[in-house]
Amino acid sequence: MSFKNWPVWILVLWTVGVILASFVDFNTNQIHLDLILAKPCFQYILGLDDLGRDILPRLISGAKVSFLVIFLVTAVTASVGIILGLISGYYGGWVDRTLMQITDVFLAFPGILLAIAFAAVLGAGLTNLILALCITSWVGYARLTRGQVLSLRQRQHVIAAQSIGASTTRILLKHILPLIAAPLLVEATYSMASLVIAEASLSFLGLGIQAPNASWGGMLRDGVRYMLIAPHYVLAVGLSLMSLVLAVNVLGDQLRDQLDVRG
């Protein structure tokens, strides 16, 4: 275990937390009225929150929520984005123009603005939060895939495959997709880091999973309210969130350098 691998260890820690939270019932809503906002101690390592609930199990349970959101959203948006990008880049013409016009429209909404809007009108809740993030985050994959396909379309091995009568699906999946897997993997890593922040932002605004269930964004909002008298609450949640985002981003940088993906 070397210091250089710290992002991996944070991710391992996160995963262990997620697995634990999936199989063990932590009793996250148990209230200790005499210990409201109590500071960290031996029994409660991270202290207690404003309702006298143990922070550590709630943090782990919040990790499960963000894990769920990130992997569902990434699975859906990466598949949709990659398929649309492949089609758009390979066929060109009006299909490409229409799809690119649509992505332009989505890109005209800065950051998570559109996700906030959709999560708001769909109504609070985990499903709607996932839906809102799915609606808005497929664009990056589509643009990246399309650009890569455009530069590969005229490669000799693709033309060779075409000339011996390989089907379009085969060419796209066997001759083009493997070559663009590396940049897509890097894109997915960075996009996961922003999804962690996006999920927490929406929960912070009260649009994610509802109380009494724990989410990092919701816990941060409560923690900020009591940060003067109980800074341990907001620090515990904020530092966890920050180290996770940092780890995923650094991992993305390392992947980019190792796989030799440009910019």
Partner: protein, 303 residues
């Protein structure tokens, strides 16, 4: 330039269509959801008629478009004021916040990037790199409270929130600007490093110019071009970040209006805020694009 301008028209049309569809993404009857159970029948009828919900969807879109062109965003259900007035009231505060954030970002990011590039692979570079990495991992709703805790609660030198004092803007602007500063640092560093390897820089050093002159006069000017482009594209992220930052610091801008409207289920206001922010973003990008072509002779020559 006219060609570029024509290019943004379909985007604007798309943005308007997507925001129009927002109201239709409300599950069930939007009127019931927005007004709640306590509303009178007259109010419901009024809102229904105002949105044209009794008509087919293309007619509703027509109504929406024609009202928009006249600058009519409808009436807020909650405050009963015309939404356009509410937007105009809140927009200046957001612009002011974004402008200060931009200033902070430039004053922090540019020098840090230059220092990192000059000392590439030495300790100042490592520190700048670590700083920008850490800051990029801090979302606004975490950075904001941390700054608040240190400067307002512990040191007590700046106001916690609100916008009464002249110094009130410092913390929210720093919160909003730090992320951009981190991006600027990395961009400036990369861009400077590329320029520093050019022959004319070596010539400048060879004829005995002091490092200061070489860096500021010769290298920086060339290195700034790509940085400016990124800056233009990132201005939009300031607008999106303003939503959270304004909420954290009770800054009465359009971002806070958006969040308030969501809490009150005043979805017409939500819709209008989203539309206005997106339109501002499109315009800013267009202007950056135009300025970029005007400044850089190479790009102008290519067109």
């Amino acid at each position: 330039m006219i060609k570029r301008f024509l290019g943004i028209i379909p985007v604007v049309f798309g943005v308007v269509s997507l925001t129009f569809l927002l109201i239709h993404a409300v599950p069930g009857d939007p009127v019931e959801v927005m007004l709640g159970e306590s509303a009178s029948n007259a109010d419901r009828m009024e809102l229904r008629a105002g949105l044209g919900l009794d008509k087919p969807i293309y007619a509703q879109f027509g109504i929406y478009l024609s009202k928009l062109v006249q600058g009519d965003f409808g009436i807020s259900i909650h405050s009963r004021k015309p939404i356009v007035d509410m937007l105009l009231e809140r927009l200046p505060a957001t612009f002011k916040l974004a402008a200060f954030a931009l200033l902070f970002a430039i004053f922090i990011g540019l020098p840090l990037g230059i220092i990192a590039a000059i000392n590439a692979k030495k300790w100042p570079d490592t520190i700048a790199n670590l700083l920008s990495l850490t800051i990029s991992a801090m979302p606004h709703f975490w950075m904001g409270p941390m700054l608040m805790m240190v400067f307002a609660l512990w040191l007590g030198i700046l106001p916690v929130s609100g916008m009464e004092n002249a110094t009130s803007i410092i913390l929210p602007a720093l919160t909003l600007g730090f992320g951009l500063a981190a991006i600027l640092t990395r961009m400036t560093r990369a861009s400077m490093l590329e320029v520093l390897h050019e022959d004319y820089i070596r010539t400048a050093y060879a004829k005995g110019l002091p490092q200061r002159t070489v860096i500021l006069r010769h290298a920086l000017r060339a290195a700034l071009m790509p940085v400016i482009t990124v800056l233009g594209l990132q201005l939009g992220s300031l607008l999106a970040g303003a939503v959270i930052t304004e909420t954290v610091f009770s800054w009465n801008g359009i971002g806070r209006l958006l969040v308030e409207s969501i809490e009150k289920r005043d979805y017409l206001v939500t819709q209008a805020c989203v539309l206005v922010v997106a339109l501002v973003y499109v315009i800013v990008n267009f202007v950056t694009d135009v300025i970029y072509t005007q400044i850089d002779p190479r790009v102008r020559f290519l067109k």
